[in-house]
Symmetry: C2
Subunit: 240 residues, 2 copies
């Protein structure tokens, strides 16, 4: 009796690893996820990842081609999405019901996602009316393993001056960075307009809630926005 292991019988590090593979696969457009990518994401030595990956491959949750990275199996994807659902429902519950700030819930959810049962999470979700997105704008997987990965918004950092829209999602887990963004008024649901971009990777100036704000391009890269429609006014080449 080492640990309780409520849901699929996986340990917390194993669930974290699957979640990381899922997220890196998504970010990398389906390319295999390398050991180094996982090590960085999990703040682990590469050798530790190799060991974990072997165990998970042995359980049929990922396919591992030596020296060439890993891919989730169908079973691994389902498992990762269940963990992700627990994480995001918990975050939403903490913010909506218990009054936590959206910048502080990640760490708490990161622990609770491994010990909360699916039943508890389903009750939380029901109490919230089965929300579709969490406080960061990330989609919440459904009980049956589905997920709608949003309408493929663009990063704030990719827009050209004059473009405007609504902030859909902030893809960052660090409390300090989120608190900073929040202090600028940059949070999911807020309307904005990009006023200007300083050259050579300089800061962007964004109007949010009536006020002009400056934000660095690295931070802005994690802010996903949606625009009113396809006839948005594009001035200048914003691709990069």
């Amino acid at each position: 009796m080492t640990a309780p292991l409520p849901n699929g019988g996986l340990t917390a590090p194993a669930e974290d690893c699957l979640k990381a593979v899922y997220e890196l696969e998504r970010a990398g457009a389906g390319a295999p996820v390398t050991t180094n990518d996982l090590a960085h994401r999990l703040t682990l030595a590469a050798a530790s990842v190799t060991g974990m990956v072997k165990r998970l491959a042995g359980q049929g949750l990922i396919d591992h081609a030596r020296y060439h990275g890993v891919r989730l199996t169908e079973q691994g994807r389902r498992t990762a999405l269940r963990t992700l659902r627990r994480h995001r429902v918990i975050e939403t519950y903490l913010v909506s019901v218990l009054g936590f700030g959206w910048d502080t819930v990640h760490a708490e959810a990161e622990r609770l996602e491994h010990s909360a049962s699916d039943e508890l999470v389903d009750r939380m979700a029901a109490a919230l009316g089965d929300p579709a997105v969490d406080p960061h704008g990330a989609p919440i997987p459904t009980r049956d393993g589905g997920i709608v990965e949003g309408p493929a918004g663009r990063a704030l950092s990719e827009l050209a001056p004059g473009e405007h829209g609504r902030i859909a999602r902030v893809e960052d887990d660090d409390a300090a960075r989120l608190r900073y963004l929040d202090s600028l008024g940059i949070r999911p649901g807020v309307e904005f307009e990009l006023l200007e971009r300083a050259p050579f990777g300089g800061p962007l100036t964004v109007r949010v809630e009536g006020a002009p704000r400056q934000i660095g391009p690295q931070l802005a890269a994690h802010v996903v926005v949606i625009q009113p429609s396809e006839h948005s006014l594009r001035i200048g080449g914003a691709e990069h």
Copy 2:
């Protein structure tokens, strides 16, 4: 980065062990808690307990006299009570807010108590109006480390026919046994009268909610009752 370890930096098994020492000390009227007692309580081999006890003693949480059992230090007591508070607040929240049955919450709380932060638990407690007891009638330690261990009720199994009162607490964690008691109408807060006791350790007949119910003495030993006052009518020797 093996595990998150939210509160005192203790692992889940270590917290469970401290909690068990606390509970066994209480049940044993302060006598030192033996390795075997702990092994039974934790469903562990005695050898495993010895190892855990050494680590905890090294951290100053318990005093360990080889071959003579352990005692919580003041620091250990505080730590145990914080874990106990988390457990009981979580149980109460699950029952009162999320609609779990009082018979099923123990297992869920047993896991969550190790990953929920004190801040989360304080918010849950506040949402409940800082309740004094959990769904089983057990007292909830306060934020500052205090606990009021109830008015020292008597076990239902110790009463004599004709005695009556109110069920204060059910000291059992097993879901099946709790569900059975619940089906008999035996739960905290319910008024009762002991109608008769079969001889030679036979079943007790108890009137609860107007209906006569039979209950074995082992189960009844875990039902703590309080009586109207000290001039309760005692008929016959009820001791033992």
